[in-house]
Symmetry: D2
Subunit: 459 residues, 4 copies
């Protein structure tokens, strides 16, 4: 998963991009980068780390120009290198080209093989670079038409923000897998993965970039084309469940409202009679827990405090269980939990190891009974379209039944939200979503050898 | 304000200290340091920055020994230098001495003048260093008696953790201003500012270090002395209101319970009839908002999302109001606020600038009415005892009445909790607190020229 | 100018490459890089700065494999970026390819234009990258044949060391512009720009890579091909005059011997009757000064001490002349110079500014007369074949006669060595050299717009 | 050994100090520091590393004021920490005090014990800090008199540059062990260890600070006092032999002239009949080799090339002898050495390991016979007065006879200069030198436990 941002028409474009990336940091923390376009010149910063580490204030001031795009990259195993940091930034015969991509091109390897066979050279292992190579081979013309030509053969998901010379472009794949929004701020046009990045720069939300749409902005104004065949919608339901920020609006609906609805549906479908209180695993489940409390009438409590200061590495001094990673990140509030029968709400369970650690913490703090309620269905398969869900063998729900999971994580009861209820809770109705990781219904062929290569990492 | 931690009796003492400092990071983010004692040897790390930045994993492994103390320092203007990072670490004729201090010695400058006049040399501008100089002049004897002799002349607040040779000591001033707790973990003894730092290392809370008590731990066991005249208690009420972590127990009471009680009292004393919902300024006011919601029956909402990724510096690209610091740190949830009459809960108001910015954000997100409720009284004076409350001229409530403040911050109504209600909400009754910043009743003379020097900074 | 190094057949290949680069540091100080090949895997380090700054010991240990190549890059204006650091390192369909280049391809821009027009993407502004693109398009086959095919259209100078999959290759352009030597060390084969890099790894010099030769080394042994039409030799005379290290053997002759011969020839051609002593501008002129002293019978002195500790940046505190860059780098020995008539030897004069500063220092230290003798002819034109000689308008001898230069630099007399004498001093006779920068006889067409673009930088 | 520098009366004092430290870098490469005094304010930079690494340009610009002192520190085992970096910088009741020290106080530990017993606290393990403590206890008065009082009890060597408030002071111990010179530059007064640091800032040499003299400079002018009993001179002969830069004048004589005289005396006392040529171990022996060549009539050659780019750490890839540290630092010129009988000149031999490595290199490069000539006597004892000569057990001449050393280092013949000839070569006659490391005649008692503690390091 990644966060993307672009702005056209502000003299401080790069500084706005930095702000936008701060707001999109939750979508990727491995690397960050900004490319600014100043007439025929273009400059870039790309570094490993958080935006606050990667984007130096002095360097940022040197990124001149009224167009800028930015990218935050999620850490995915095996490819965590500076070469793979984005935006991709090259010089083509049509001028400088920069590209920031959120998504996963499922047939990128096939196209890449063809390009390599005809002598193209790749500097990274990213599928995103393949788009740029196709762009290099596109018929010279209007930037949006060149981009349409370059994108034509790709399958899978892409929300992209691109600069070709002095034109800023935003495009979304025909199935609309990943979100992409457009805003205005005085004379400037802003594109971003989520509306929270419009808010931070003081831009007003205008509309979504539509599935299959390419929007181009330059000094002559804005142009929109829809060059691709209409396809069924496959918006990622997991964006609403976990990934996006609660203060964002994506796919035309509020993330906070979606999560509140999930929590309420969960309370209806899986009540916890006899429980004393309900609490969230902070912060991603806060809204769902609030919904659960409202619907169930149970008392809401803050029973787990999350430490936001933990760096990405710390020495684990002694044996697991004592000072595990979970304990370093979360601390239970003993006075809240002591002697209580509690409902613990999480948005989802992936491997189950964190959940198991949390349950142990909660019990050690005195909880009498722990009833786990999950605001989405069991995750049974990986995602091939841009979210870093681990391979099948790491997913607890791929190999264990719900009662087995309950035993593994050590709870008194466990219930997941059903697929139907999840979809029914979505802001604009249950249609048009990809829920493959929950349902196994993959709308587009996985990339060649995808699961195998990930499984290989487990040995 | 600072966080302090000490452990005796664990071979991984320094690694435990690092964990403890992670849990105490909220008490100080300017610098961090650890000193480890290994027999007659002692080694240290001290750096500017967060624990995750200051304490390098490789260096940490080189801190051998079964005794360690650590310190996180709060950024106070004018003295943010490495020289002032703690623990203070020196070699005296009795061996290595390290000291971590939380508090403020109000007569340190007088004692320092005397020491300098007789030829002592100071390496920092910290009052804490004066204790070490007094220790250097103490009559050789048992470590706890030397420490008692060194501390005798000091006024003001101190919770300290000290190593003298191979002995670990913890001491708290007779008025008990700052918290200090003791825990056990297998054979090891742990001291920390708050219990959340016991939790993170898996230590069991035993009891508070008592006001006026000095506890010494060495290979022969534990010894406690109470060498000072009994004084009235002056526990800092602001620790409960704002400073400590909600998952901590300090002064014998739960911080979470205290804040919930403050919220409930606030709802009784200052209801908001006609309001649609209540929300917290996250994260420090979460518990008070929950209390307010419970008591008032108003719907609790998460209306502000806080961004934890913002680095300590970012370039402010354009004019205030658009992309202010407040907007970068907080984002309102439009769907929650749109058209609503809202109650915004904060634990306290200091300068009023952040509050003003938040109110503007909340209104811009569509709130119809904003009713501000503050879970403590107006802050009218600085703190001379260890909390970095700014000088009088920066405190909004020092020069404005409540109606004036309401106007300044732009709310429809504003109410603070009364002093009596605040004290009545404290876990073990209203007695024995310092509330000088709220009430102006300073139990101990301020340090010479304190306010003047701070006022000087304003010009 | 750059330094290149390669080794095949040693398990510590990357560590040997680091040593080799230490010895070739004088050929390039802008950036350094190493690529190591371990079977089908390959890893790299590339950074700005000196080898000691760029190649971290811990990272170096992670460069596994028994093949490694390295590169030190000279700082040339306008392109000092990490993207331009070498070795070029990409993945092609034939496997990993790494390339280290010393030289200048005079028609690279023409070939690059063609490649870009057909959709190739370049990640750097280096001519060296064009070779890799041609390699990507070469007919699959033996690595040496693919390299031959890739190199076929290029004009200009190249000594290159390349890895294609598990094969190490070394190649030199048909005119033999830049040096390239081969050595042996137990079972390992070593290639390097100069023999001093063989010495530092304990390798025995075997022979030069011959002009127009491609040598391939893999697990089956060594193969040599000469795929190009024989061309007249154009070995760079400036390598002997200034660039190479005196302890190296290049083009089949000792650099030290060459410089001694230049000094002796200079003494014959341009004696300084009446002078008291002779001294070198250290360190590059030491050998020439020794030759001049031997031939002339004048007393050799060390009159200038060079400071090797000066970092690349220092603040210039006051007005020029007082603490100029020259003064920071060199200090005269007053006791040697006081009242003397001196002969100052330098290998060459480029802009004349350093020389002028040195003459002023020498006079200020008491020299009565300063007779400048230069061990090469006046430099009147830029180099298009790999040495960073500035544009014509910056070359003092391009616009001033020898008497004018003497006046400009402030000497009592000035003499250069003649072109014929310089060539006659070369180890293996005067034939087969490029001396275009001295004579204006450019054996190969300059690249399109070369001088213009450089001239443009002056405005 | 250390380098010290001070300037009074220039608005760019800190920038001049940086230049001065560049020129004194050879006297200490472990750490560097500058303190600048601006009226009642004073600021400092101190870091580990070379001047170019330790003194950042931006930070330097923040060191305001017209007084500055600087220090470069030599790496001595066991105490290489930032705490020990100089200048010592503290605030006393008389104002800011900064001190830069070159030398060794042989009774510092005794005085320190007394100070610690009376409650003083030390922040470093340096003897230099003891002076500051004594200064803190001195009777308030004129700065020079306070400094005299502070210095009164000390034995051993000290050349110091000090600031007390707004006064710059320079002092040299009564025996004059270490050099210290004074210069003028417009209205500014400059003090430095050697004249090369006057040269680099464009200051004119005025005179030595005399043994036992204290010079004070402030806005009222310059004052000199000689408060100590006259003592016999003990100028360090090793400064002339090895330590000082050849372009410096110290102790009233030229270092270059001294070394030339040593070389000539060596040629007379220890000729090498039948040898073909003579060469130096660069760079410290260049002048002695020149002297030897002049006197002997042997041909001078540059047979060893020194690499100045080697960083302080490099991975040693394989077995000793192949790629030893010596080989990385020096490379022989084969064409010079092949088949020759050579005289190799070094200024001194300490452990013998480098010499042994060099002899092996020279032989491997083809030398037929190697005759080693050393321009000073055998070093048989450590230095207690400020030079980091290793402990007795590491000194090759402390346990081996000259014939044994010849065998150990592998030469055909070996001769050292005699003590008498060395002293006779000194610029102003043989009297008034300390030559304890050569002769064993220690003029002042070694510090308590000195040799033992160093010997302890060997186990």
């Amino acid at each position: 998963m990644c966060g993307i941002f672009g702005v056209h028409g502000d003299d401080k474009a790069a500084a706005l991009a930095q702000l936008g990336l701060f707001a999109l940091q939750h979508r990727g923390q491995e690397s960050a980068g900004i490319v600014a376009v100043n007439g025929a010149e273009a400059t870039s910063i790309r570094r490993m780390g958080l935006v606050s580490e990667a984007i130096d204030a002095t360097e940022l001031e040197a990124l001149h120009g009224n167009i800028a795009i930015g990218h935050t990259r999620y850490s995915t195993a095996g490819s965590s290198t500076l070469e793979n940091a984005q935006p991709v930034f090259v010089h083509l015969k049509v001028g400088h080209v920069a590209l920031a991509h959120n998504g996963n091109l499922t047939n990128a390897d096939v196209i890449r093989d063809g390009l390599e066979a005809s002598g193209s050279i790749f500097g990274s292992t990213m599928d995103s670079e393949v788009i740029v190579h196709q762009l290099a081979k596109a018929t010279p013309g209007k930037p949006e038409e060149m981009l349409a030509e370059a994108l034509r053969g790709f399958e899978g998901s892409y929300s992209i923000i691109v600069t070709i010379g002095r034109t800023l472009l935003a495009a979304r794949d025909p199935r609309g897998w990943r979100p992409l929004v457009m805003g205005q701020r005085d004379g400037a046009t802003v594109f971003a993965s989520e509306t929270c990045a419009l808010d931070i720069v003081g831009a007003r939300f205008v509309r979504d970039v539509e599935p299959g749409e390419i929007i181009a902005v330059d000094e002559h104004g804005m142009r929109s084309i829809k060059p691709f065949t209409v396809a069924p919608q496959n918006r990622c339901v997991f964006e609403y469940v976990y990934f996006a920020r609660p203060d964002s609006t994506i796919f035309g609906g509020s993330v906070d409202r979606a999560r509140r609805a999930l929590g309420r549906a969960l309370a209806k479908e899986a009540p916890a009679p006899g429980a004393d209180l309900v609490f969230a695993v902070p912060d991603s489940s806060n809204a769902a827990a609030l919904g659960y409390a409202e619907e169930s009438g149970l008392r809401l409590e803050h029973a787990l405090i999350r430490n936001h200061y933990i760096g990405r590495t710390f020495i684990q001094p002694t044996q697991e269980g004592r000072t595990s990673k979970v304990r370093v990140k979360y601390n239970p509030v003993r006075e809240v939990l002591q002697g209580q029968s509690v409902v613990m709400i999480d948005d989802s369970i992936v491997r189950g190891t964190t959940t198991r650690g949390l349950v142990a913490l909660v019990r050690a703090a005195g909880a009498r009974e722990v009833h786990m309620r999950v605001a989405s269905p069991p995750i049974t398969g990986p995602c091939y379209y841009g979210i870093d869900i681990p391979s099948k063998r790491e997913l607890i729900a791929a190999s264990q039944t719900v009662p087995e999971i309950a035993k593994t994580i050590g709870v008194d009861s466990l219930a997941y939200l059903s697929l139907d209820s999840m979809l029914a809770s979505m802001p604009n109705g249950p249609e048009g979503f990809c829920h493959a990781c929950f349902s196994g219904k993959y709308p587009v062929q996985p990339p060649r050898g995808f699961e195998e290569s990930r499984a290989g990492r487990d040995e």
